[in-house]
């Protein structure tokens, strides 16, 4: 039940928002349920400390036959951070998203995303992972296109088609794998793969299809096209939610998959993962530096940051996985906050074109500082969370003798700094360009709740930098669990 509640909370909200008509009540309910979801996820942290891996078998059908929900330390970490991001973006969108969208189901579909995300973080078998991916994809597709502006529809068509292709690959891979091994339960599959260790090449077609599916979801090179083509089109609050949750689910699944299956064929998969990660890192950051739209720069940076996580996964040591987890958390927070600031800029000026913007630091120093914190955390400046993330990745890389890729990561860091400084200079620092006609200043209501959620997020980023030690310790325990898949298998199949 303790895990099932995380599916139940969004589900109850979906039910209630169908039954209730008044938009105001729905909005309050959304805030209430988002808070509740966050608190419940937090309550899992002590539980997982005590029970190591929490397993719930739906309908009392035991493991390889039924549907299991599994949460180890890694899942719980992701659940907590996702719930935190969701909580703050919900608060943010009460003021940032316009009234028509809020009335027509903005919260409904964002809870759909939450349900999909929670489900995929806890899925104990492959087919349910796919189903939760679909739940997430459908809700996010509607959120991208909700409102029906021309630009939005263009973005959402690209988004939908490429993600459907990813689902096709994923489910085709699942079919092949099921045909060969006769099971869908992750733990059971891993066990069967261990006993078939001399014929592993036979499984590669299925595994490659699934890997491609995850790479498209996680926006890895060379499958990242959908992300920058669609993320700058919906309202900024929606983009912030997507940036915090969606690609990270793909990466979560990749890490889970690598530590349970792909590592059996380490010689084949390790270079693939390292190259995919390394190229995403480089190409994302270089593509970002040529953009002139606030959200497009940040979208390309998602690709580059995801690359860091995958490279750290590719090192495949305890230090490497610790770094990957820490970096993932840092990235969810910092990236979301950068998009939250972009939402404020969009509200003030009605555009996110860097050439037109300027002089916003004078308008509101607080938002300037908030952007400074998240941007320079992404770039990796010392007291902030990004510094420890990058430091851990580089350290793990050198320890794992991957000096070349470590140097690449270092070099990518400089480029990130360049892009962030560019946004900072263009949006907040330079004088507003005079020759371009400025929009007449609109009287806006004060954006207190937007400010609140961004401040909390920024504080979380700073706190993650200042008190990095306990988080790193937790990540290290999670990484050790990930590197001993036999533990996962024992707990899920009930041998423990």
């Amino acid at each position: 039940m303790i895990l099932f509640a995380l599916l139940l909370i969004p589900f109850s909200f979906l039910m209630l928002s169908l039954l209730i008509k008044k938009a105001g009540i729905k909005q309050r309910l959304a805030l209430l349920f988002a808070t509740f979801n966050f608190l419940w996820a937090l309550a899992l942290v002590p539980a997982v400390k005590f029970r190591e891996i929490i397993v719930v078998q739906m309908g009392s059908w035991s493991a390889p036959y039924g549907i299991s929900l599994v949460a180890d330390r890694f899942s719980v970490l992701m659940l907590v951070v996702a719930a935190f991001v969701f909580f703050l973006t919900t608060i943010y969108s009460t003021q940032s998203v316009d009234k028509a969208r809020r009335k027509n189901g903005h919260f409904f579909f964002s809870f759909g995303i939450l349900m999909g995300v929670n489900g995929s973080f806890m899925a104990g078998d492959l087919f349910n992972l796919y189903v939760w991916f679909e739940v997430m994809l459908m809700s996010s597709f509607i959120l991208v296109s909700l409102g029906g502006e021309r630009q939005q529809l263009e973005g959402s068509v690209k988004y939908l088609i490429l993600n459907l292709i990813s689902s096709l690959f994923f489910v085709a891979g699942i079919g092949l794998l099921y045909g060969k091994l006769g099971s869908l339960n992750l733990a059971d599959l891993s066990l069967k793969m261990a006993s078939a260790s001399d014929n592993l090449a036979l499984l590669n077609p299925a595994l490659i299809l699934i890997f491609v599916g995850f790479s498209i979801k996680g926006a890895l090179f060379p499958f990242f096209f959908w992300l920058p083509a669609s993320y700058h089109t919906p309202p900024p609050a929606v983009t912030a939610l997507f940036a915090g949750l969606l690609t990270k689910v793909g990466i979560y699944s990749l890490i889970r998959f690598y530590t349970l299956f792909l590592y059996y064929d380490h010689g084949f998969w390790n270079p693939v993962v390292l190259w995919a990660g390394g190229l995403s890192m480089v190409i994302g950051v270089i593509a970002a530096s040529s953009q002139y739209d606030f959200r497009k720069i940040l979208s390309f940076h998602i690709i580059s940051q995801v690359g860091y996580v995958v490279v750290a996964l590719g090192f495949f040591t305890v230090a490497g996985l610790t770094a990957a987890l820490f970096f993932l958390v840092h990235n969810m927070l910092a990236k979301t906050n950068a998009f939250l600031v972009a939402g404020w800029v969009h509200r003030e000026r009605g555009t996110l074109n860097l050439k037109v913007l300027g002089d916003l630091f004078n308008k509101s120093p607080i938002w300037g500082i908030l952007f400074f914190i998240s941007a320079f955390s992404l770039a990796g400046l010392p007291p902030l969370s990004g510094f420890f993330g990058k430091y851990l990745v580089l350290k793990a890389g050198i320890e794992a003798d991957q000096v070349f890729i470590t140097l690449v990561a270092l070099f990518v860091g400089f480029f990130t700094l360049f892009s962030m400084v560019k946004i900072w200079m263009e949006v907040f620092w330079k004088k507003a360009p005079e020759n371009i006609a400025q929009l007449a200043p609109v009287e806006l209501k004060p954006a207190n709740w937007m400010l609140f959620s961004s401040v909390v997020m920024a504080l979380a980023i700073v706190a993650m930098g200042l008190w990095a030690a306990p988080i790193v310790e937790y990540c290290q325990l999670a990484a050790e669990d990930l590197l001993t898949p036999s533990k996962y298998i024992d707990y899920v199949l009930g041998y423990h």
Partner: protein, 142 residues
């Protein structure tokens, strides 16, 4: 469109299909059938009715808004999923009540029936909400 034969048939058809769908729902646990397919069958009956009488008449027959029906369906699913927890089982476990009833004899009633009924209502509501929206956009009634 006034065609008395068609109108009579459509009314009759709706009733037959409604009975048929409930039958499918009830036999679903052990034989082919179940909530999803029963919902689709019932919705086809309504669609046929709607094509002849217009979507407003569907709306008057089903009384509540389709949104509410979907909500009720999800609510039943929720109840069926959570009920076993209070009886000390894992969520979604089937709880059964086996009783002797007059006329029908021994009958097994359980949470899977509630779950299936929820699916039945939800699916019918969903399909009808799509069809009614399309009919309104096409101005089918006028």
């Amino acid at each position: 469109m006034n065609n008395i034969i068609l109108e009579k048939i459509a009314r009759l058809f709706l009733r037959v299909i409604a009975v048929m769908s409930v039958l499918l729902l009830l036999r679903g646990h052990n034989s082919p059938g179940g909530g999803f397919i029963a919902g689709i069958v019932l919705a086809t009956g309504f669609i046929y009715y709607g094509i002849i009488f217009g979507s407003d008449r569907i709306q008057t027959i089903i009384y509540f808004n389709t949104r509410i029906w979907m909500g009720i369906g999800l609510g039943l699913v929720l109840i069926a999923a959570v009920m076993p927890v209070f009886a000390g089982h894992e969520p979604l476990t089937g709880l059964w009540y086996i009783g002797e009833w007059p006329l029908v004899g021994t009958m097994h009633l359980g949470t899977p029936l509630i779950f299936d009924t929820g699916i039945f209502i939800g699916v019918t509501g969903l399909i009808l909400s799509i069809i009614i929206t399309i009919m309104e956009v096409l101005k089918w009634n006028t």
